[in-house]
């Protein structure tokens, strides 16, 4: 019988075939899809995220683990949808206008997905109005903005303004990317900043719980 901790370990190690087999095994044993997500996939991603934060593993390991997680989610998501179970929180994420960097943004999206957030990924070079429209359309709890260029940090600021001006008062705004700092986040009136993808999950959970 496959166990949840084996699944968590397989996800963390990025062994996608093992992880998928374990997921199917757990379903066969009658385990609920949501339990498999919350007690198998989420701990696996959180373990790798923690190691990444401490520089014990690097981006390749994160990407490979995230792929394993995603493939298991591919099995579980239709079952969750059938059962009418939606992720508790939805986050809209994107790289701000003028900026085409997406590796960091994708890692944040993967970690959030791995923590069972619903993710709406708008990609790169996203204008403020597109963020606003997506928040409305998906009733998002969070919006995550990424910027890697000092020249596109102002676009981050105008996106925060656009969200506020659209009267979306309940959505929490998170910002990040190499040149972004806590000071900058405060200055532009975002709700939070975190320096890496693992702490982004802690922050997202804290912010969403506070709504």
């Amino acid at each position: 019988m496959s166990t949840l901790s084996e699944l968590a370990i397989a996800v963390e190690a990025g062994k996608r075939n093992d992880a998928k087999a374990l997921t199917l095994g757990l379903l066969d044993d009658g385990m609920q899809p949501l339990d498999i997500v919350e007690q198998g996939l989420v701990p696996g991603m959180s373990a790798i995220g923690e190691k990444f934060k401490n520089n014990e593993v690097f981006v390749p390991e994160m990407l490979i683990a995230a792929r394993a997680m995603k493939e298991c989610m591919g099995i579980l998501e239709p079952l969750l949808a059938q059962a009418g179970i939606k992720p508790k929180y939805t986050a809209v994420i994107g790289t701000v206008q003028g900026d085409l960097h997406d590796i960091g943004k994708n890692l944040v999206a993967m970690m959030l997905k791995g923590a069972n957030f619903g993710i709406v990924d708008l990609g790169t070079n996203v204008p403020p109005e597109k963020f606003v429209a997506a928040i409305k359309e998906h009733d998002a709890h969070l919006v995550c903005l990424s910027a890697l260029l000092t020249t596109t940090m102002p676009a981050m600021k105008s996106t925060v303004q656009a969200v506020r001006e659209a009267g979306l008062t309940s959505v929490k705004i998170m910002v990040g990317g190499a040149p972004v700092t806590q000071d900058y986040s405060d200055e532009i009136g975002a709700d939070g900043y975190s320096p890496d993808a693992a702490s982004a999950v802690d922050l997202a959970t804290k912010l969403a719980d506070s709504i």
Binding site: F58, V59, P60, I64, L100, I103, N125, T150, T151, P179
Partner: protein, 288 residues
Amino acid sequence: MPIPNLTIIGESINDSVPSTHKFFEANDIAGLKNLAIAQDVGGAGYIDVNVGSRTGEFLAEMVRQVQSVTAKPLAIDTPDPAMSEAGLRAYDSARAGGKMPILNSISELRMEMFELYRIMPFMPILLASERMENGAGQPNHTAEEVYQTALRMVRAAAKHGIPVDQCIIDPAISPIGADTDGRFHCLMGAIRLIHGDSELKGVHMSVGLSNFSVMIPPKRPDGSPSKSPLESAFLTMAVPMGMDFVIGSVKRKYQLLEPDHPAMVCLDDCLKLEGFDVIMRVQEYYTN
């Protein structure tokens, strides 16, 4: 042995390098000038000057300060047209033995920077990783797209009186440790297309080489460095196809590698692999 015909644009004076950022924040001009001297002595052909998002005046002052300690020409590194103008106006080509500066960089998203050529002639770095399409910036994802953008940029440069052999195309290098969508294939394909086009004969090529090896651990299990051999392996492939500049580190001691060097074998394999198999091959390189 240094690689013949490869010019290094010393990368250290860049606000996005954490140790240099500290100098900027502390306004430690002497510390910054020492970086210029160390790179000059270390064999850099040009000294890059990137002050991040500070003022044009500050960039101009940095240009003067750096030129006060080195006779090497500079690469003025900012995507901001107004800052570029200030940097170019401050540049003293006589001090650099008559050599013009490099301007890093012009892309289709900021073509107005060609106008600066009238103020001070320069060698433009033409960024070919993004294009303008229907009024919006788009990332290029295929070798053909990168090559076509490069061609349009070189033609635009010619309209401003900049000859092809004064242009430096940057086909954009991406980190091999995050390469799940064929970027390395795209890069090598683009270099090949650019090198093979007779219209582009004499054009220079450059990449920001340190970006290739970010995101992987610095050492292999035997304690040997993991990053500089991968960068050298890339150069071993790209220099024969016309890559003659890099923005990089004089400390890395780039060299041409033998075909059986583990880093060479790794990159050769990467070119035969797709998707996640590329990063898994890189992982194998740095874990074994």
